[in-house]
């Protein structure tokens, strides 16, 4: 083990500064990529925004272009956008007459609520299913693993409609129309969580089995711990570490899944907003959503690193 010479606080500050610099770089990269990717769509941006079935005359098109700076060269627009972004201004939506920050701010809450609910459901159910079946043969394991495969493979769009049909239309347990309230959150959260449970449980089970095969598991049993205690107290902690590597995938799945779940359930949120702004070519809002997604990713990675420090003494040099 290395011996520390510098004070720990100093070291932590440096680490935080490096993280922050990394985050800014990621955000800049995301904004740039999104900006140019959207600019690559062929055709005049105002024409694309209005769509094919319009009678808007040229004077209106010119006005829209001028008001949104679309009459300027691409690179000039990019620099102006970055300049505003540096001051924390994500610009104004093309059509909603609201600042992008306000539009995204309104949408963020419902999506965070949905994503958190889904993550909690997913983690709890994945742990239960992995702990119950790891290292064991039998009918339960066969059923659980094949169910996981089905859950991962089902298109979430279809899964959502299936759940709605069963638990809202046939058995009136959960409302689709109910606004707010926990009961309206159950089905969307479950739709988002089920494929995640499938993946998490498989990874967890593999990690658990690897941990149970380690000598320490035998030692712990020899000290008199029950099988369950070994699983829950020791092996699970080992198995949780590989999960951290899935954080990026998880963030992506949650955001991507939100687009579909919010559309199916008619819920407000970032996903619904992304879909609408993509359809209407509302570039500032789209780039804003990309930025928020990138920021989420950065934050989740930081949290997972902290989590790793917590569960795995080996990374705490």
């Amino acid at each position: 083990m290395k011996i520390n010479t510098r004070p720990a606080r100093h070291r932590a500050l440096r680490a935080v500064a490096a993280r922050a610099a990394g985050a800014v770089a990621v955000l800049w990269g995301a904004a740039t990529l999104a900006f140019f990717a959207l600019a690559l769509i062929p055709g005049d941006p105002v024409t694309i925004m209005l769509g094919p079935f319009t009678t808007a005359p040229q004077s209106i098109r010119d006005q829209i272009a001028a008001d949104n700076g679309l009459d300027k060269p691409l690179f000039e627009r990019y620099l102006a956008y970055l300049g505003r972004l540096a001051q924390g201004d994500m610009g104004e939506s093309y059509q909603l007459q609201k600042s992008v920050a306000a539009v995204i701010g309104e949408a963020l809450g419902p999506t965070v609520e949905l994503a958190l609910a889904a993550v909690v459901i997913a983690i709890v159910l994945a742990i239960v299913s992995a702990v119950l079946t790891a290292g064991r043969e039998g009918r339960l394991r066969g059923f659980v693993t094949s169910w996981e495969l089905v859950a991962v493979s089902l298109p979430p769009h279809w899964l959502g409609i299936l759940l709605l049909t069963a638990f809202s239309f046939q058995l009136p347990i959960f409302p689709v129309v109910g606004v707010g309230g926990p009961s309206a959150l159950v089905l969307p959260a479950l739709t988002l969580a089920l494929p995640i449970i499938g993946v998490l449980a498989q990874v967890l089970r593999e990690g658990l089995e690897a941990a149970l095969a380690q000598p320490f598991a035998v030692t712990a049993r020899a000290r008199g711990l029950s099988r369950r205690q070994v699983r829950v107290r020791h092996a699970l902690r080992h198995a949780a570490v590989p999960l951290a590597t899935l954080s990026g995938w998880l963030a992506g799945t949650l955001l991507g899944g939100a687009v579909i779940v919010e559309a199916v359930f008619g819920r407000p949120g970032l996903g619904a907003l992304a879909l609408q702004s993509a359809t209407n070519k509302d570039m500032p809002v789209l780039i804003g959503i990309v930025l928020v997604s990138a920021l989420t990713f950065v934050v989740i990675s930081a949290l997972i690193d902290a989590f790793q420090l917590l569960v795995d003494p080996r990374v705490r040099t």
Partner: protein, 548 residues
């Protein structure tokens, strides 16, 4: 085959739909069917699209007009037959040259913020629409060659135009030319797109709340007493509350309706019609949308469709009856002319005049010189295959499964030796090809309760390269003259004559292939009575009430 369905099922469906369609009166003036109206209650109306902008003067979306119709009144009211009735204007006079319209306004109308509705309000609103800074995508077009509004006295407004403008009455009857309170225009003019309480108008409901991505809430305007002259309910709405719920997924809308979670569902897809008509507590209202039918527009400006014989072969060489009947379960009517049957000037004489005839189509193609066939069975001339480029819209713009409908026609065309190439690109490429005249076939419908829609689709000046919608790319002197005449007269006989002739000529020249009449199919709980449909086939909740 993708279309094959038991004929018996289709027949049962047709019968069920006909019954469903009959159960509500076509005439909005017809009284509610189920006894004395009940006060109070809430109705949830689920729609398939969420408006991008709630500023009725800016938006070009149908959905904005559909929803906001319940908040906005118009100067005049157009009924299901296309006739105009007094609304906010008690009476009106049209100048002989059709360059000015003078409206005598009702004196008792108030905006829901207390501001009186008067000639000044008309002027403020119309001027706002015409101002390029408003960036109006549709309302400004509806105002046409608007010159200005003169406040003759407090309750007389004279709207003038730079040239004769016959379609103005119909335009003035739409929600897009509705009136915001001048006070809210002054204070919130740059925020109206965002929806919510700033959208102050005169209508039967007040815009009380909006959650983006979820719902809009309208509450009753208790002071409302200025319904259209022909409305069944002349006073305030019976319902306390109307919630518009945005449910883009059709099966979710239908499921919510069948499970009683909502009371009215818009855009019920044909395959779900039976679920609703088979349910004792639900019913279907099917209304032909006015305007142009969904049609193919054949690009006459380039080979191979510059040859009338080839165009004619396409017109009679695709089996429209079968395609429309199978895909839409008999719910949508097959079309015979550009105008939909519920539009004034509809040329009924064209019905059944150009039936499917594969043999005749083959003969026409032979005559056109496409006589040899290549290895895949397509016709060739001088070694070139007979191919038509018919781009598909990107998926998010495809309505009514028109992509699948097109697959059937593609197969029909193959039978007569024509290859239909259907690339699906991004919207920018689509617009560049179709509106730049590079594609051979374009397909669309155009909703508007006014035969002037034919000007947009057939007039030589409506060139898609310059913002028009005439994708036939034909500047036919007669079509141009007739559609010009139609928009410069209010003489019904003259209009019927020129629009009838224009429809006939478009078919004769085989520049269009009308396919089906877009139909607004609304599912509703039978407990919802008195729901009326305006000239656009949009539901109006002012007279709706909920049976106990």
């Amino acid at each position: 085959m993708i279309f094959s369905r038991p004929v018996a099922t289709a027949a049962v469906l047709v019968a069920a739909l006909l019954l469903g369609g009959c159960s509500s009166g076509d005439d909005p003036a017809a009284g509610p069917s189920g006894g004395t109206p009940v006060q109070g209650g809430e109705v949830v109306f689920a729609v398939d699209t969420e408006p991008v902008s709630f500023d009725v003067h800016v938006s070009q979306q149908d959905i904005t007009g559909t929803i906001l119709r319940n908040l906005f009144d118009s100067l005049v009211h157009q009924d299901g037959e296309g006739k105009f009735h007094p609304w906010l204007a008690e009476s009106w006079e049209v100048a002989d040259d059709l360059k000015s319209y003078t409206f005598k306004l009702r004196k008792d109308v108030k905006f829901t913020d207390g501001t009186p509705f008067d000639a000044e309000a008309v002027k403020v609103n119309f001027d706002r629409i015409a101002d390029p800074a408003t960036k109006s995508q549709l309302a400004a077009t509806l105002l046409g060659p608007y010159a200005g509004t003169e406040v003759v006295d407090a309750h007389t407004a004279k709207v003038t135009f730079k040239e004769s403008f016959a379609p103005f009455l119909q335009a003035a009857s739409t929600a897009y030319l509705g009136f915001y309170s001048p006070k809210t225009i002054k204070e919130n003019g740059d925020k109206l797109a965002a929806g919510g309480a700033t959208g102050v108008s005169t209508g039967p409901f007040v815009f009380s709340g909006y959650t983006k991505g979820q719902s809009a809430e309208f509450t009753k305007n208790p002071d409302y007493a200025w319904a259209p002259k022909d409305a069944a309910n002349s006073g305030a709405a019976y319902l306390d509350k109307l919630t518009i719920r945005f449910l883009p997924e059709a099966s979710v809308r239908v499921g919510s309706l069948t499970s009683g979670q909502i009371q009215v569902a818009a855009a019920v897809p044909p395959q779900d019609a039976q679920t609703i008509s088979g349910n004792a507590s639900l019913t279907l209202d099917a209304k032909d949308s006015p305007g142009s039918n969904f049609s193919l527009f054949l690009n006459t400006s380039k080979a191979p469709l510059n040859d009338e014989k080839v165009r004619k072969a396409i017109q009679i060489g695709i089996n429209i009856d079968a395609g429309v009947k199978n895909l839409y379960f008999g719910q949508y009517k097959r079309a015979w002319t550009l105008l939909s049957p519920s539009t004034a000037g509809y040329n009924k004489a064209l019905e059944n005049t150009w039936p499917y005839d594969e043999a005749a189509a083959n003969k026409l193609l032979d005559e056109a010189g496409w006589t040899s066939r290549d290895g895949e069975g397509y016709r060739t001339k001088d070694g070139k295959r007979l191919t038509v480029n018919w781009p598909l819209l990107p998926a998010q713009f495809v309505r009514d499964k028109r992509d699948i409908l097109g697959q059937g026609f593609q197969a029909d065309l193959k039978k007569i030796g024509i290859e239909a190439d259907r690339p699906q690109d991004d919207i920018g490429t689509y617009i560049a090809n179709v509106y730049g005249g590079k594609a051979d076939i374009a397909d669309y419908s155009w909703g508007r309760a006014e035969p002037d829609v034919l000007w947009l689709l057939l007039n030589g000046a409506s060139d898609p390269r310059k913002g028009g919608q005439n994708a036939t790319f034909l500047n036919d002197p007669q079509l141009t003259e007739w559609t010009n005449t139609g928009r410069s007269t209010l003489d019904e006989a003259v209009r019927n004559d020129v629009y009838g002739k224009a429809q006939q000529r478009a078919i004769d020249l085989a520049i269009v292939v009308p396919i089906y009449t877009p139909t607004a199919v609304t599912g509703r709980a039978k407990a919802v009575n008195g729901l009326a449909y305006d000239g656009n086939a949009w539901p109006v909740f002012q007279g709706a009430w909920l049976a106990k």
